[in-house]
């Protein structure tokens, strides 16, 4: 605080030394970080590794570290054992249709909560948020019964349609994001005579891409990995999705075909990895928007 030091060059030198020391000290943390990171990655490495081994290497004792030769046949045999092409298309359809609905409906509801005034808004928003804490298990049975009445069991509808009515977390995310978008944008459009829905579609949506991306990515991954819903509602033979098919394969062929099982598991993971690498920043952004440290 009080200026005591005489020579400025001396000061600069010691400051530089302390910065160098600090960055060195931080790099020392790599000694902790590297083992932890390895520990987290090893199982995934092991999955890909096992998917490329022959049965002989698979059950070698002690375990072989790297496959030799690289046995790609597991992928061919594994995907040939069940109609995986159909299952993949089913999963893509289900995932795409659900995500589209969730983004559209949650954005318009989020827009309503963030921008428009109407009586009871606060109470309704609180109700919306509190459903986040509702254990979804409670809804499992009555929803099934209702969908059965509607004749929807054995179709994709029970898994897709609810997404067109907004999800509490996605609505919350859109609302939080829109609170940070300048109001001048839509007010200018309103002065020009645009209605609320045109403003939503032409002003809000183009300016909400980070929120759309975040909601979209969360939804894509959730639906891609979904197991319980498809298990209950879909006919496994013709409407199977990847997660259910994996379980089917494991039950039918069991541990003997570990290589193929790991090949199929790897195939289920690869799209998620690709999505993650292309859209990495939106994961963080999505969570930051939701209000934790987004200030």
């Amino acid at each position: 605080m009080i200026a005591v030091s005489p020579a400025t060059s001396e000061q600069a030198r010691s400051a530089a030394r302390s910065t160098a020391w600090r960055s060195l000290r931080i790099e020392l943390w790599n000694l902790v970080l590297i083992p932890v990171a390895l520990l987290m990655i090893v199982p995934i490495f092991w999955m890909f590794d096992s998917s490329l081994k022959t049965t002989l290497q698979q059950f070698a004792f002690p375990p072989v570290l790297l496959p030799q030769p690289v046995f790609v046949q597991n992928y061919i045999d594994g995907t040939g054992a069940l109609p995986f092409g159909l299952y993949t298309l089913n999963t893509i359809f289900l995932t795409g249709a659900s995500t589209l609905g969730l983004c559209l409906s949650s954005s318009i509801v989020g827009y309503g909560f963030a921008r428009l005034r109407f009586p009871g808004k606060g109470v309704l928003f609180t109700v919306c948020l509190s459903t986040l804490m509702l254990p979804s298990t409670v809804l499992l049975i009555p929803s099934f019964v209702i969908f059965r009445w509607l004749g929807w069991v054995g179709t994709f509808l029970p898994l897709i349609v609810p997404n067109y009515f907004g999800g509490a977390f996605s609505i919350f995310l859109f609302r939080q994001f829109l609170l940070g978008v300048p109001r001048e944008l839509d007010e200018a459009a309103r002065v020009d005579g645009a209605g609320s829905f045109r403003i939503w579609w032409q002003i809000i949506m183009p300016n909400a891409t980070p929120a759309i991306a975040a909601v979209g990515i969360f939804s894509l991954i959730d639906n891609w990995n979904a197991f319980l819903g498809p298990l209950i509602y879909l006919n496994t033979e013709t409407q199977g999705v990847i997660a259910v098919a994996l379980n089917l394969f494991a039950g039918r062929y069991g541990a003997l075909y570990t290589g193929q099982l790991m090949a199929l598991s790897s195939l289920a993971l690869i799209p998620v990895l690709i999505l993650f690498f292309f859209a990495q920043r939106y994961f963080m952004q999505g969570i930051a928007i939701s209000g934790f440290g987004g200030r």
Binding site: L33, L139, L140, P142, F165, A243, I287, F292
Partner: protein, 310 residues
């Protein structure tokens, strides 16, 4: 006079229009809430008092399901298993996720790589990770025992040992704490750097800064993760345990979790009424625990930063 009236009328018309638009915008959610949340909840509350195999009309049996519940040994076993997993896993996961977040927040050279490594396991499709881990835990050929043998430790029976099956399940959850870590990471980044700088000037070391700044300022996020973690843990494990038990792992109902038993009752035995009661018991337990959590949180959660906006 007339202009004043027209202005007032126009303004009220605009306001009405905004109200109408507002309700129209949130209409999808209102319909969804009634059709997919509130309606089913009320409906399932009625089902609690019935015996219903879904094929024949339901019959009203009063508190019959409650009597069954208390005498049902599997209800108690699955409740015990679930509470066991919850009590161990929630503190463990929260701590581990916080630790990973603090590590991933260090400005090291490979920060981005570490973040990916910590996060990716949590995004692995659950069924794939169930199959992967059942291979890792394989008593003869699995990598888990290979590591133990390498360290000259006795090999374990993992999923085939009723005492180890639950810990094995908890380990997978630990591997998948990446999503929780990201929430902590976002929270850490919301703490103003100036506070740390000021503390450093005052001579606070790393540990001091962590306990005196990071923990209190992060406490709303910790509470959030604990609450969401508990709600999740009570319903957790369906996919993994479903896959494992269908492969004959997890002996003596050691990993038969509550949601699985609920699923079995509803969709295997078609006891819709009884399964609804199981669902409501779970709901009430979660509600109670969450309520207690909020009450207790007043003594340890610090709302100077963070919570104010909500």
């Amino acid at each position: 006079m007339s202009t004043k009236q027209t202005v007032a009328r126009r303004r009220s018309r605009l306001l009405w229009k905004e109200y109408r638009d507002g309700y129209l915008c949130i209409l999808p959610w209102i319909i969804g809430f009634i059709a997919f949340v509130a309606g089913p909840m009320i409906f399932s509350l009625v089902m609690v008092f019935t015996h219903w195999d879904i094929l024949n009309p339901p019959s009203f049996i009063g508190f019959g399901n409650f009597a069954t519940l208390f005498q049902d040994p599997l209800f108690w076993v699955t409740l015990y298993n679930t509470v066991f997993v919850t009590v161990i896993s929630v503190p463990l996961y929260t701590l581990f996720a916080l630790l990973l977040a603090v590590l991933a927040d260090l400005p090291t050279r490979w920060q981005a790589v570490y973040r990916v490594a910590f996060f990716i396991p949590s995004q692995t499709p659950t069924v794939a990770s169930a199959l992967l881990w059942s291979w890792i835990y394989n008593p003869q050929y699995g990598i888990a025992n290979a590591v133990l043998r390498f360290l000259h430790l006795p090999a374990l029976n993992w999923l085939f040992d009723p005492n180890l099956a639950k810990p094995s399940l908890i380990i997978i959850g630990m591997w998948g704490v990446g999503a929780t870590m990201v929430i902590f990471l976002a929270g850490l980044q919301g703490i103003p750097q100036e506070i740390y700088n000021a503390a450093s000037v005052d001579g606070a070391n790393l540990w001091h800064r962590f306990t005196a700044i990071t923990l209190p300022l992060l406490s709303p996020v910790i509470l959030f993760n604990i609450i969401i973690g508990i709600i999740g843990a009570f319903q957790s494990g369906f996919s993994i345990v479903y896959v494992w038990t269908s492969l004959g792992q997890g002996p003596d109902n050691s990993i038969l979790l509550y949601v699985l038993y609920l699923y079995d009752n509803a969709f295997q035995y078609f006891k819709m009424g009884y399964a609804s009661l199981l669902a409501w018991v779970l709901f009430l337990i979660v509600l109670l625990v969450t309520g207690v959590n909020f009450l207790v949180s007043k003594s340890w959660v610090y709302y100077e930063y963070g919570g104010a906006e909500k």
